[in-house]
């Protein structure tokens, strides 16, 4: 309306220039773009470093193999080598992107019903990584049917069965490794499995003797000390565990798993400051961020809240992806870092449905206690009785310091 009165004959000149101005300004108005969503920055400085690329040395070592595959995606040997290297990185760094890269390397064979055994075992590893245990076991059993002495398949089988609490079957797989001629690996495997259900004194002693008397080489030695630490921890002996894990760390860069359990032993001993020092720069892996946050909370370090929020945000993103693979870490995070023990119990129960080791049983007991529903942990108690761990021992672990 205003324009009409403004643009009558009396104001012709001003009106025309106003309209002209608007027309010229229009493109400017049209090109103003606002980004949906908030929280962006535009750095002023070109030299500002945004990211330091991780794992450069490892990736550089793999560059020639990647090149081979780029030239020929169906190069079996290169694909197997690359996938294996990626899966090892995924495990050691705790970084699932590498599992995805491994899958991509194996893509030409992925959907074949009967891929070559080495590839099939790698596919099983990938599936284990993704917590798709049934599919992984199917692959492994298929490989073992043709090659019953396949060490890698047997070890992976033992690992999955141990996780699911199928200890007898896992031990059988370890025995098969020994029967195939590799006594040392078979023994370490058996010791590892037995740690999952509380450890056995005889196995532990044998392992200790072995580590003292023989030079196993850095890889097996690290594994051996790691297993000793695990056995001690589930036996309620945090001091021995911390010492064993420290020893294991001397044999080469510790994996995320080793660091995490070492942190648990230190937490159980009431040494959160050492945990914080150990894990200070390891916010990249959830399991380590969890222990760091727990230690910081114990120390009244205000950073624990930010780290808790990071963890929860990470879980929320996993929820958005429709995946819930890390229930053990999640349950523990909710129990130790939030005020919602009932939600923690829910996750601990979900975890129990998928994993059955001593650590999972203890977690369930703690969560049930905290939520005021001790009866919810009855399945874990029954399991402990059946495995010969004994309810009292489990209860002792559950009421002992956090970390067990």
């Amino acid at each position: 309306m205003r324009t009409t009165t403004y643009c009558n004959r009396a104001h012709g000149g001003r009106c025309a220039s106003a309209v002209l101005f608007l027309l010229l300004a229009l493109p400017g108005i049209a090109t103003a773009f606002t980004l949906p969503g908030g929280d962006v920055t535009v750095p002023a400085d070109d030299t500002r470093v945004l990211l330091t690329l991780p794992d450069r040395a490892e990736l550089a070592a793999l560059a020639p193999v990647r090149e081979r595959i780029r030239n020929n995606p169906r190069d079996r040997a290169a694909a197997t080598r690359l996938a294996r290297a990626y899966l090892e990185l995924a495990w050691r760094k705790g970084d699932p992107r590498y599992a995805g890269y491994a899958h991509a390397a194996l893509e030409p064979w992925w959907n074949q019903p009967d891929p070559p055994p080495d590839m099939r075992v790698l596919r099983a590893r990938y599936r284990q990584h993704r917590h798709d245990f049934d599919a992984a076991l199917a692959d492994l059993r298929a490989v073992l049917e043709r090659q019953p002495r396949h060490v890698e398949a047997l070890l992976l089988l033992a690992s999955i069965q141990r996780t699911r609490g199928e200890f007898a079957a896992a031990e059988a797989a370890c025995r098969a490794v020994a029967a195939g001629g590799d006594l040392l690996t078979g023994l370490l495997c058996a010791a590892d499995v037995s740690a999952g259900r509380g450890g056995e004194p005889a196995t532990r002693d044998r392992l200790q003797r072995l580590l003292r008397e023989r030079d196993l080489g850095p890889v097996l030695a690290q594994w051996g000390w790691n297993v000793l630490g695990e056995t001690a921890l589930v036996a309620g002996n945090a001091a021995d565990a911390a010492a064993a894990f420290a020893q294991a760390s001397r044999y080469g860069k510790p994996s995320a798993q080793l660091l995490a359990r070492r942190a648990d032993a230190l937490l159980a001993l009431g040494r959160p400051a050492e945990v914080r020092a150990l894990l200070e720069n390891r916010r990249d892996v959830d399991a380590l961020l969890l222990r760091l946050a727990i230690a910081e909370r114990r120390l009244d370090d205000p950073r624990w809240q930010r780290h808790r929020d990071e963890l929860l945000a990470g879980f929320a993103t996993m929820d958005r992806r429709g995946e819930t693979p890390h229930r053990r870490v999640r349950a523990r995070a909710m129990l130790a870092l939030t005020d919602d023990p009932r939600a923690a119990l829910g996750v601990a129960l979900e975890n129990w449905a998928a994993q059955r080791e001593v650590t999972d049983a203890v977690l369930l007991l703690r969560a049930a206690e905290a939520a005021g529903r001790p009866d919810a942990a009855d399945p874990a108690r029954r399991w402990a009785r059946k495995q010969g761990i004994g309810e009292p021992r489990l209860a002792a672990l559950a009421t002992a310091a956090e970390g067990y």
Binding site: D46, L220, G314
Partner: protein, 360 residues
């Protein structure tokens, strides 16, 4: 064998607690359809971008802002080749408009902003997504679509690369929804209803026949309606902002005041003034509810007007129900004489309880 051993050994130990503990690869895709042209925002982890198109121009193992800026064209090109929007089957054009940086929980992300221009000035109704899947099948695109009335979310994966977006609600359905909300919220708004009833009670006691009673009711209801419409609109449009706690307490208190006013014949006649004054307050109460429902950005006025209309209709229904009762009472003088004081006292008691409750 040694190579196998290394891997096997590492396999066994408590793998699952830590193995996948890092964050997997996610991209965040936001499509805003509240106006034409639609705007698309894509947040990509710098790690993923580096792997796919290369960012580290000087090969020193770090990515700088300058290196990211330098790669803007190939990056925008990569994205627009692997994300496609369409409207009615016709492809839309993505125009690169902005490059920025964002931090998500697992590190720095490159943020790209696009306008999405579709034929016939339409809004996109389907999205195709194919970033990074070839080199990382575990990558996921986390999609959020925001529009005038609702948000929609989905996850792109190698198995699900296309998403059909829900259509925009028509003006009619928005109107219908918000009228229903208005009616519902006045019916469950016991404090508002009680206030109204308290103000209507005197119609029973006013001398001069049924007509003046009806006139009284008309004045009161109109005043209340006008008043709460005013503050509701002002609050929803952002011109008024008062903390909800004190407002709720005041609303309860207004009932007490109105009830006590009923006890005085002089004050009774000014019921419409009280209705207006306190109606302003009640409108703020409604505003809280309405904004809580989520207002459609592009149809704000329509939603507001519809909600208000719903409130009026709901009110009218209540008045229509209460009126016959009041008239029935009028015809029984003994009852009529006692109703106003007794009803008002009862209302005052209930409302006082609410005041105390809301103060807690």
């Amino acid at each position: 064998m040694p190579a196998v051993h290394l891997l096997c050994v590492l396999l066994l130990l408590g793998v699952l607690d830590t193995a996948a503990a890092h964050r997997p690869s996610d991209a965040y895709v936001t499509l805003d359809r509240s106006e034409v042209p639609a705007r698309l925002r894509v947040d990509l982890a710098l790690r993923d971008v580096e792997r796919e198109i290369g960012l580290d121009a000087d090969g020193d193992g770090t990515i700088t802002w300058g290196e990211l800026r330098g790669a803007r064209e190939p990056l925008a090109g990569y994205v627009s080749e692997h994300i496609a929007a369409s409207a009615g089957g016709e492809p839309c054009v993505l125009d690169d408009r902005q490059l920025a940086l964002a931090r998500h929980t697992d590190g720095p992300y490159a943020v790209l902003g696009f306008t999405v221009t579709c034929t016939a000035a339409a809004l996109p109704d389907a999205l195709d997504y194919g970033l990074f899947f070839d080199s990382d099948p575990l990558h996921r695109g986390l999609l959020v679509v925001t529009g005038p009335s609702s948000a929609y979310s989905a996850v792109f994966s190698p198995e699900r690369r296309t998403v059909a977006l829900p259509g925009q609600p028509s003006a009619w359905s928005t109107m219908r929804d918000f009228i229903a909300h208005g009616v519902w919220h006045i019916w469950i708004g016991f404090d508002h209803l009680l206030f109204l009833v308290v103000l209507l009670l005197p119609a029973v006691a006013i001398s001069g026949g049924a007509g003046s009673g009806a006139l009284h009711i008309l004045k009161v209801v109109t005043a209340f309606t006008v008043a709460h419409s005013i503050t509701l609109s002002l609050a929803v449009l952002g011109y008024l902002a008062l903390p909800s706690g004190p407002v709720e307490v005041a609303i309860a208190a207004s009932i007490v005041v109105a009830a006590l006013a009923n006890l005085n014949p002089r004050w009774r006649r000014l019921g419409w003034a009280l209705a207006f004054a306190f109606g302003l307050l009640h409108g703020l109460g409604f505003a809280g509810v309405l904004t809580g429902l989520g207002l459609p950005a592009g149809a704000l006025t329509l939603a507001l007007v519809s909600f208000n209309l719903g409130v009026e209709l709901g009110q009218l229904a209540v008045v229509a129900a209460v009126l016959p009762l009041l008239y029935a009472v009028r015809s029984l003088p003994p009852l009529a004489r006692g109703l106003v004081p007794a009803g008002s006292m009862a209302a005052a008691a209930v409302a006082s309880f609410w005041v105390l409750e809301r103060l807690a």
